[in-house]
Symmetry: C2
């Protein structure tokens, strides 16, 4: 008997009608001879509504209480989906994060899963039940309710699949798979049949939005076979696999973009390694994710360091730098918003030096200003002005020969 | 330093604006030199909305999943109230039922609190925090989320006060206290300054609605001083006290009514004690609360037993009787709905035989048909047709000299 973990996002459980359809998919998977664990997000706009309530009371909602508040959204979803499954005559049982044994660290708002105690899950599965687990949430060793932050339900699903050694993890979403770029930006985007973990990780990190990077990382570590598919359209999705199981026939597999980028420049830092350690140590302590980093030495004793962060974390980052002004010994901090990042991703890129050249040529011919550049083995990213990002993505998609002849029809169903 | 437990109902936390006012009351209580534990219900109509969602999916929502669903309502309230308190610069911490150590039995939907492990509560209080506990919910020994059923938040508050040996338990509600009868039915109803646990218990049981009987029972057992007061009007409430600490100057203290009564008649049961044991054993096993019981022998070998139940439990009770038809050996089961119960309550009644006579005379002069009668040491109850109940209450209120000259003004504020 197989074991399948399925994850359904907020749109997929947006109404009781849709929950019933999710129940059909789950039931079918069980009928095919599988044990099934399902993870769900909060219904549609629930999370936004809860955030609004909090904002009516305070401008700085304490994160511990936000976690208590927001986790109710997924708890509602699991109860309702379980009812829908039982109404179909199936044995099912809902579990909150703490009931499912999802143990996290203590960082409210963006906790990491440390361990999953699968005792209750296994008991329930052995009892013939479909287990419906609240996504996005866990419990810390001190019994506090935590949330996993953005894309948390994906992470829950993959972590469950890893711990239970599931045969596969299916991520159901409102798109039919992973595309060469965002179909809302480029109508000629093409759906990929498969993609490597590494490529997906870059695409996810770069804002492709279908899968959260942490979930991909987790899938890679635990070697969980992952498939992204639509909960609305019956159609093959995109498999996310180990690279060596794929053919690498293309240089660039996709163009990603992230529209919420801010850049910080720290000018006149002491020119030594300790400066780096201190600077990024301070930011790490505040749990601020730093993305691209560019350093430039302009004299012997001083250097400038520029880095990009999510624009929501800009204020927090600036505050942290200000608090430690003396310790860091910089001269000035500058910041810029209204930026975006566009990236070309592909496992074959490292062996093809022409890719970077083509990227810069394409952007420069399109009149797009490049503000920062960073490269890795499988991607090249450029920070550009936000208002030029969409055009940049379209031009790169064409330049790297990713366009389909016929725009796919199923993209904008939801 | 004193320790006060306060409970705020759904109307009191019906909006963020009202939650802010609740925070003011809590803050004031702390400023007066008390440690404070607060219990809250779900916001306004939240519970109804969640029930509707469940009903969209199934006609018979499984009780375990209903508990998972409904407890989210109180969880939202505690997070929001805690935020409101923290926004005022106070230290506060929310706790769900399981976090607060509220251990119950396993009867989903109407669990009983078995024990409260106050470790976390005490730690938090010692830490100078106001603790905001989700009412109405607990956790069973097998880690299942349970709810306490109707009036559960009152019970949570009183049980917390008992376990923590609080100096008092304040029940904030949308009325200013306990009245001689329902002010919506009798505008001349008078607010009582104090009432004994026993009287309150009868009034609560009889549908006075201000306090749930289980909470009163719990207050009596643990000798918790209880006060019922308004969260909207600053005014002395009604103290619920031990009887021997009160003067018993009146015969009848209040007139209660319950508009949701159904009667079941089981005809032709074998005339022996085992019949009773079996009949009420079967109902107890289904957790159906039987209220008044009247037996009549009409021949040597057969007897009839009539009893009243909450009208919501009528179908379940009839089903249970049908299932055990053979075992019980009755001839026929009849049932009647659209009934109500009106009761006169007073600790002094047992020593005054004139009360019953006055009650029957009053009802008969008003043309009210009496369907069943039951008496205890401190009350006399009559089941009457629902459409005559309001008139019956008004007539009895006058007859027992409970009317005020001037109708109170604050009653219908909410």
């Amino acid at each position: 008997m197989g074991l399948v973990v399925q994850k359904f996002g907020g749109t997929s459980v947006g109404s009781t009608e849709r929950i019933r359809k999710v129940a059909d998919i789950v039931a079918r998977t069980q009928a095919e001879g599988n044990q099934v664990v399902v993870t769900v997000s909060a219904m549609g706009k629930t999370t936004d509504q809860l955030v609004s309530l909090a904002n009516e009371l305070t401008t700085k909602p304490p994160q511990r209480e936000m976690d208590v508040l927001l986790t109710t959204g997924e708890q509602v979803s699991v109860a309702l989906l379980t009812m829908a499954l039982m109404e179909k005559g199936l044995k099912a049982r809902s579990m909150t994060g703490w009931q499912a044994g999802i143990l996290t660290d203590k960082v409210h708002g963006k906790a990491r899963i440390e361990e999953i105690d699968t005792t209750r899950l296994r008991q329930s599965l052995e009892n013939g039940e479909i287990v419906v687990v609240a996504g996005f949430q866990g419990v810390s060793s001190s019994g506090e309710i935590t949330t996993l932050g953005r894309g948390g339900s994906d992470t829950t699903a993959v972590a469950l699949a890893g711990s239970l050694q599931a045969d596969r993890c299916e991520i159901y979403t409102d798109v039919t798979g992973v595309f060469t770029t965002d179909p809302r930006v480029v109508p000629k985007a093409r759906k990929l049949a498969e993609i490597s973990h590494e490529e997906m990780l870059e695409l996810a990190n770069l804002g492709a939005g279908v899968l959260h990077p942490r979930s991909v990382e987790c899938a890679m570590t635990h070697k969980v076979p992952l498939v992204v598919r639509s909960s609305f359209v019956e159609e093959e999705g995109t498999w996310v696999k180990e690279a060596d199981k794929m053919e690498e026939e293309r240089n660039v597999r996709g163009i990603a973009h992230d529209m919420q980028v801010a850049r910080i420049k720290v000018l006149g830092l002491p020119n030594n390694t300790e400066s780096f350690t201190r600077l990024f140590g301070i930011l790490a302590k505040k749990h601020i994710n730093v993305d691209m980093i560019v350093q430039s030495e302009h004299e012997d004793e001083r250097m400038d360091v520029a880095f990009s962060v999510h624009e929501d974390e800009l204020d927090q980052a600036r505050e942290a730098l200000q608090e430690h002004e003396e310790e860091l010994g910089y001269i000035k901090v500058l910041s810029e918003t209204n930026l975006a990042k566009v990236s070309a991703v592909g496992a074959g890129m490292v062996t093809n030096p022409g890719v970077a050249a083509k990227m810069f040529t394409t952007l420069s011919e399109a009149g797009v200003r490049i503000k920062m550049v960073s490269t890795s083995e499988i991607k090249i990213s450029c920070v550009v002005p936000k208002d030029q990002a969409a055009e940049a993505v379209r031009e790169l998609h064409t330049a790297f020969d990713l366009d389909v002849k016929e725009p796919a029809k199923e993209k904008a169903l939801v």
